[in-house]
């Protein structure tokens, strides 16, 4: 199990805490994570189920391209971010705000 656990930690980088994520948590029973760029949906599902001991209904992912920023004549690029919207099965709960620690 330990090798698998390790992958779990590699997949899930951090919870996304924002107005949107709070709203989703309240209305859709969905939690949002920043995940590794190469993470696949089934990996994310396994990671969330394995680490937080909840059952996952579905995972949807999105790639956010980093913005191109220039400084004078130098062009730079912010890192791309992959986010995962993880819908939990009804009755399951996951709360990052009030000490629901991973």
């Amino acid at each position: 199990m330990s090798a698998l656990k390790e992958r779990h930690y590699q997949v899930l980088l951090a919870p996304v805490i924002s107005e949107k994520s709070t709203m989703l948590a309240e209305t859709r029973n969905t939690v949002v994570f920043r995940v590794a760029p190469d993470a696949e949906k089934h990996e994310i599902k396994a990671a969330v189920e394995g680490l937080f001991n909840v059952r996952v209904q579905g995972v949807r992912v999105v790639n956010v391209k980093g913005k191109v920023k220039r400084f004078g004549r130098f062009a730079g690029r912010r890192a791309n971010v992959r986010k995962a919207y993880v819908t939990l099965e009804p009755g399951q709960e996951l709360d990052f705000v009030m000490g629901g620690s991973a």
Partner: protein, 453 residues
């Protein structure tokens, strides 16, 4: 939503004065009881207040969920609510107990959890002002020096003034004490000239003791053009380290001897002292008047010192330590600033307020005592008294009106003047009650106690 919890902010506190402690007779203790519910409500209210302005990444300002705000700022809000409630309860307890608080609050730290039965129990202690009973001052004896300014005193003052204005006239005789000499000298240490040990045309007055004594008296008995070789032993604590404790040889050549010539007491002299028409009799009157002013000021301050000493000795009361501590702190800071003004580096100079504790104790006691006397006998400074004092002080200045204005345009300066008036009032009040014994004193020994002793 903002207002739903704002009710129930009234602190339903009961203050119960606990048993008084013997160690510090001025310390009072109260036990404050604050309902836990009140704290909880207040904490919620504060969190809501924070939420309106908190900024957090991912949220627009003011849109951060309350839960998040509580997590970030909950303990802060809690302790603020608690300290506010304590403060309020303490104020109320003080009002109820009619304490005159001098300061020195000590509040026992409380945990986050209510102690029992949904209440926070806080022990608070503070110092109150002492009750001062003004005692009968009948048998207190104040010695008031009586000094008359006689002709001899005036003459002596004129003598001093003449010496200050002495001119020097070259003479052809051996130098004496009081003469001004012009000399060349070469100083050698073990046969080698040393730095700063030689000079030409060095001028000084013998006997003014600004130099080492051996050097000072060396030219005595020498005429202009004569030479002398002598030894000088530098003292151990001499400024220049390479010379301290050593013996150097000096060869000194006197080039000029000048005898002091005192100016005649005449119209010219009077004019130089500011008497425009050069009237000598008028000059004497002026000198006498100024001496009398000085004597009066000296007597007043002497009497004032005695009165305050007696008052302090007669009234024994405990002093709030918190006031003493802050006074000592002030004194220490003043002393530090004083040193700094004289060009010393004070940053790493440890000035301990403890050194000033005794002085602070005296000041605080005197301050409290005077305040009490002023209160009981209504000796507050009346505006016309202040005016009179300032105008009297202004008499010594060229432009009296300017000084008067200077005092009145700044409340702090006016306050200082008021303090002086109050002191004078208290001294006058005390003198009415004390027995004043007059004691004739000699002018000279009174004005220059150090010389006479």
């Amino acid at each position: 939503m903002e207002d739903q919890n704002v009710q129930n902010l009234e602190p339903n506190t009961e203050a119960a004065p606990a048993a008084e402690e013997a160690a510090n007779p001025l310390e009072r203790k109260v036990t404050l009881r604050i309902p836990a519910e009140q704290i909880a409500n207040e904490t919620q209210r504060l969190i809501k207040q924070y939420a309106r302005s908190v900024k957090m990444p991912g949220f627009r300002p003011g849109k951060v969920p309350l839960k998040l705000v509580e997590r970030m700022y909950g303990s802060e809000a809690r302790s603020e609510a608690l300290s506010k409630a304590i403060e309020k309860a303490l104020t109320e307890a003080i009002q109820q107990g009619e304490y005159r608080v001098a300061g020195g609050y000590r509040i026992d730290p409380v945990g986050d959890e209510p102690a029992a039965e949904g209440e926070f129990v806080v022990e608070a202690a503070f110092e109150i002002y002492p009750e001062i009973e003004i005692v009968d001052l009948k048998e207190v004896e104040v010695v008031k020096p009586v000094v008359t300014v006689d002709d001899a005193a005036v003459e002596r003052t004129i003598e001093v003034l003449r010496k200050q204005r002495a001119t020097f006239v070259e003479v052809d005789r051996p130098a004496e004490k009081g003469d001004r000499v012009t000399v060349d000298f070469v100083g050698t240490l073990d046969g080698e000239p040393f730095e700063g040990g030689s000079a030409t045309d060095y001028v000084y007055v013998i006997g003014e003791s600004r130099l080492l004594p051996e050097f000072d008296t060396a030219p005595v008995g020498l005429k202009a053009g004569e030479k002398k070789t002598f030894d000088v032993t530098f003292p151990e604590n001499y400024g220049a380290e390479n010379l301290a404790g050593k013996t150097a040889q000096f060869e000194l050549t006197v080039k000029k001897v000048e005898a002091p010539q005192l100016p005649e007491v005449d119209a010219e002299f009077a004019k130089s002292l500011g008497i425009e028409d050069g009237d000598v009799a008028k000059m004497r009157d002026e000198i006498r008047a100024s001496l009398e002013r000085e004597v009066k000021a000296r007597i007043d301050s002497e009497v004032k010192r005695q009165v305050f000493d007696h008052l302090l000795a007669k009234h024994d009361f405990p002093v709030p330590q918190s006031l003493v501590a802050s006074e000592a702190q002030t004194l220490a800071e003043n002393a530090k600033r004083d040193l700094q003004m004289r060009g010393m580096k004070v940053d790493n100079l440890p000035v301990d307020p403890k050194w000033f504790e005794e002085e602070a104790q005296r000041r605080v006691r005197l301050g409290l005592l005077i305040a009490e006397i002023v209160k009981q006998f209504e000796l507050v400074a009346k505006p016309e008294q202040v005016r009179a004092l300032i105008e009297e002080m202004a008499q010594n200045y060229d432009d009296p009106q300017a000084l008067v204005k200077w005092y009145y345009e700044n409340p702090q300066r006016l306050g200082n003047a008021e303090a002086v008036v109050i002191e004078n009032n208290v001294v006058g009040w005390a003198l009415e009650r004390m027995t004043v014994k007059e004691e004739p004193r000699d002018f000279e020994s009174f004005m220059n106690p150090n010389v006479a002793a």
